[in-house]
């Protein structure tokens, strides 16, 4: 905005008002030690189109470039003069000793290039060895003796400079900056490590706290770090100074006619807190309770028991809980005195605390799991807990109730042979082992067992496939009938074979079978189903005459056997003969 307004102004007043272009370099000092810094400003009385800084080959750039511009109007002898300043600043630190050069910078104004003169700086050896930490990086060099201006300062606020050992105090690093001054850069050079304290960071980021009036000035206040410190031992405990390096930006308002212009002037400052000493007081020895374990603060004691009536062998839980505010983590919780007949496990320790200005706030608890082994009546004596109250400066004792337990049931046997390892509620080792093969693959992981699942489905698939095939290839009616008849003939022959000893029945059945056979094969109706009819039909089928003669002979033989049973008949031989003859004929007829 400033620049735009300025251009507008220039445009109105005309460029002719401007004198010669002047481009200069200014250094804060020409001689310095190797661990010191110098500031270099490049000043131009015009707004450049382009500015190119030097390479700074012999220096580290600690800060910069910081660009600023402003204009001034002055009236001398009734003549108004306008001047304009553009400047670029750097803070440098030398890389080596000797005569070093700051190379020329260049700026382009209205198409013309201007250069500054090179500047020579004499750098001598550092007078004392720089501290190890700060020499590591060029940005962390030893601070120069630039006095901290009143524009900004830091303070360490300690809530209590004479706390008791174990009593928490708060330490807040506060940064005061004069209102209207901005912060361009900010870095902590030295972070204090309070020694002899238990330190807990409450907040590590800067928090704006508001405005404060001091010495007629208004300051903005920031809390840089907020710590909770708990002294660990009595005596004088020191907090080393916190050092801060920052670049402030001052805004200077210039009135010019109806316009207001802001100049931004950077200022490099080093701030530090003074050495702070805290005197930790020891806890009074007088009236110190026996059961005091170092707790300082304000606490409450809670004891919870899951049940007071239980069967032997069942587990009970006993919780000891301390809540409140104080130096949690620095004292021990009281341990209940359990009857020796009980198995007691290591307690489950729970911590639920957060740091505050006046110590940890929250609760800490121990959850014991116990298993009464023997039935009976037991008493858990009251649990006591003592602490020191730093506000009242006295020791206080809290006491839980006593509990009476009634354990029922029967005594629980601990594994007998290797007793002695039962402490801690730990189940004992086994004395008998049921061995199994180390390499055995369980049966259900073996291949054959997998097949036991596949097989029924494969089988089912095959059955269904067969059924389907069957339905697709259904034999025709005629064939079916023939099959039925074949079966019938076969059954007749079979029956005949069962009656080999009764020739009458045997030959009767054989004749019936033959008639059925010809009826079927030659497709004869019953009117032609006699010897001549069959013979004619066979002749029509071009059956060789010898077969026909053979058949006639057979008929003759059967007729004889049936109706004139004189003499003996070899039924079994006849049966075989008829069968072979029928087989032969089958083959002929099939052709």
């Amino acid at each position: 905005m400033t620049k735009r307004l300025m251009f507008l102004f220039l445009w109105i007043s005309g460029l002719s008002l401007w004198g010669q272009t002047d481009f200069r370099v200014r250094v804060s000092r020409n001689e310095l030690n190797k661990d010191e810094r110098l500031r270099v400003d490049f000043i131009l009385n015009r707004q450049p189109e382009r500015f190119e800084p030097p390479a700074f080959r012999d220096f580290y750039v600690v800060m910069g470039p910081m660009e600023s511009s402003g204009s001034q109007v002055s009236i001398i002898n009734g003549r108004m003069q306008r001047s304009y300043t553009y400047s670029v600043s750097y803070v440098l630190t030398p890389m080596r000793t000797g005569t070093l050069t700051i190379e020329p910078a260049s700026a382009v104004v209205e198409g013309k290039t201007y250069r500054t003169k090179p500047v020579h700086i004499n750098v001598s050896q550092a007078q004392q060895a720089p501290p190890a930490v700060s020499s590591a990086k060029p940005g962390n060099l030893r601070t120069e003796n630039i006095p901290a201006g009143k524009d900004a300062f830091i303070r360490l606020e300690i809530s209590n400079r004479r706390p008791y050992v174990g009593q928490a105090v708060s330490a807040v690093y506060k940064l005061y900056i004069k209102d209207g001054i901005g912060v361009a850069d900010y870095g902590q050079t030295q972070i204090p490590e309070p020694k002899g304290f238990w330190t807990e960071t409450i907040k590590d980021k800067p928090v704006e706290l508001g405005m404060v009036e001091k010495d007629g000035q208004t300051y903005r206040v920031y809390a840089l770090r907020q710590l909770m410190l708990i002294p660990q031992h009595a005596g004088k405990l020191e907090i080393t100074p916190q050092k801060i390096e920052m670049i402030l930006v001052k805004k200077v308002v210039r009135q010019m006619g109806p316009f207001q212009f802001y100049d931004e002037v950077p200022e490099h400052v080093y701030l530090s807190t003074p050495h702070t000493v805290i005197e930790a007081r020891p806890l009074p020895e007088k009236d110190k309770p026996v059961d005091f374990s170092g707790a300082v603060g304000r606490f409450d004691l809670f004891v919870n028991v899951s049940d007071t009536v239980a069967a032997a062998g069942n587990d009970l839980s006993v919780e000891v809980k301390v809540t409140g505010k104080g130096n949690f983590n620095m004292f021990e919780l009281p341990r209940p005195v359990f009857p020796p007949e009980w198995e007691v496990y290591d307690p489950e320790h729970k911590i639920n605390t957060r740091p505050t200005y006046t110590g940890y706030k929250g609760s800490v608890s121990d959850l014991y799991t116990v298993i009464p082994q023997k039935p009976g009546k037991y008493t858990l004596p009251p649990i006591t807990f003592s602490y020191f109250d730093p506000v009242d400066e006295t020791y206080k004792r809290l006491s839980g109730p006593a509990y009476n337990f009634e354990i029922t049931g029967r005594r629980v046997q601990t594994s007998a042979p290797y007793a002695g390892a039962g402490q801690g509620g730990f189940r004992n080792i086994e004395s008998v082992s049921r061995w199994m093969s180390a390499d055995a693959v369980p049966f259900w992981q073996q291949k054959w067992f997998a097949w036991m699942l596949y097989l029924p489905f494969i089988f089912l698939f095959l059955v269904l496939a067969f059924k389907y095939w069957q339905s697709r290839h259904r034999p025709d009616e005629q064939k079916q009938r023939r099959q039925r008849q074949n079966r019938y003939i076969k059954s007749l022959l079979k029956e005949a074979r069962n009656h080999l000893n009764e020739p009458a029945v045997f030959y009767g059945l054989i004749e019936k079978a033959l008639r059925e056979y010809f009826k079927n094969r030659l497709e004869l109706d019953s009117t032609r189903l006699h010897r001549t009819g069959i013979d004619e039909a066979l002749a029509a089928r071009r059956v060789a005459p010898e077969y026909r003669e053979e058949l006639q002979a057979l008929w003759q033989h059967i007729q004889q056997a049936r109706y004139a049973p004189a003499g003996s008949f070899d039924t079994s031989a006849d049966y075989e003969q008829i069968r072979t003859w029928l087989e032969k004929l089958d083959k002929i007829l099939k052709k």
């Binding site: 496990y345 290591d346 489950e348 042979p417 290797y418 002695g420 390892a421 801690g424 509620g425 730990f426 189940r427 004992n428 080792i429 086994e430 004395s431 008998v432 082992s433 049921r434 061995w435 199994m436 093969s437 180390a438 390499d439 369980p442 049966f443 259900w444 067992f449 036991m452 699942l453 029924p456 489905f457 089988f459 089912l460 059955v463 269904l464 059924k467």
Partner: protein, 255 residues
């Protein structure tokens, strides 16, 4: 032929007996050392037993106890887990394992399960994998029998019965089979125990080391995947990490 057959049977049987005897003598020797509170010596003797070809849930349980007494928490968790793998409902091993878990640095609460998943886990856990395996096979054959009966029975009344039977056995077969698969997956899952005091995990194995943290000794993780020298693991609360392979011990492997 018969003689050879019996001979082989006798030989394998006597070999097995011999192994068992050897294992028993080592086991009681180690138990005596344990009773004398020589836990390290006892553990050494216990560790020789699997070399005889025999193992047991009791053996791994005792090894877990010995490791616990030596304050080797990771080993102890590993052995109890092995014991529980061999016998899932081993009460003493479960009990001691919960005791150890209380003393571990990482107290990982298992992620709460949905109601139906809990119910299903309970159901599949009712029977061992072997029993589920047998049941699933048995019902497959019953299903086959019912279908055949349906296909080949002639009378309509019988066909109806056969159809109903086939439907029911198909349903039961499906249930037993899915239960078997689920129980088998549970049995075969590869778990591991963090064996070093602290292992630094990463959210990803590549260069992204921005999200990192520490798992402590004795934490049981499930191995999901591996890549290079890293395992992708899941803790009981459902978080997934990559941890170096060398920092964990697999439960399924022999140590």
């Amino acid at each position: 032929m018969k003689r050879i057959f019996y001979g082989i049977i006798f030989l394998t049987f006597s070999l097995s007996m011999l192994q068992a005897q050897q294992a028993d003598s080592l086991f009681s020797q180690a138990n005596r050392l344990y009773a004398q509170k020589k836990y390290a010596e006892a553990l050494d003797v216990y560790r020789r037993i699997p070399e005889t070809g025999k193992v047991s849930a009791e053996l791994y349980y005792n090894m877990g106890n010995a490791a616990y007494k030596l304050n080797k928490k990771a080993l102890s968790v590993l052995y109890y887990k092995k014991a529980l793998n061999l016998r899932p409902g081993y009460a003493a091993a479960k009990h001691n394992l919960t005791l150890i878990r209380r003393s571990l640095t990482d107290r990982i609460e298992p992620a709460p399960l949905a109601f139906h998943i809990k119910l299903w886990k309970k159901w599949t856990g009712m029977l061992s994998v072997g029993v589920w395996a047998i049941l699933s096979r048995l019902w497959a054959w019953l299903l086959l029998a019912a279908v055949l009966f349906y296909l080949y029975s002639q009378k309509p009344a019988r066909k109806r019965w056969a159809f109903a039977l086939a439907g029911i056995s198909a349903g039961i077969w499906m249930l037993t089979w899915i239960s078997y698969r689920s129980a088998k997956a549970e049995h075969e899952k590869t778990e591991a125990v963090v064996a070093v005091p602290e292992t630094r995990w990463r959210a990803r194995i590549d260069t992204d080391t921005s999200r990192t943290g520490i798992l402590h000794e004795g934490t049981v993780v499930k191995i999901l995947d591996s890549s290079g020298n890293w395992y992708h693991v899941r803790t009981a609360d459902g978080n997934r990490f990559w941890v170096p392979e060398s920092d964990v011990l697999k439960i399924n492997e022999r140590y």
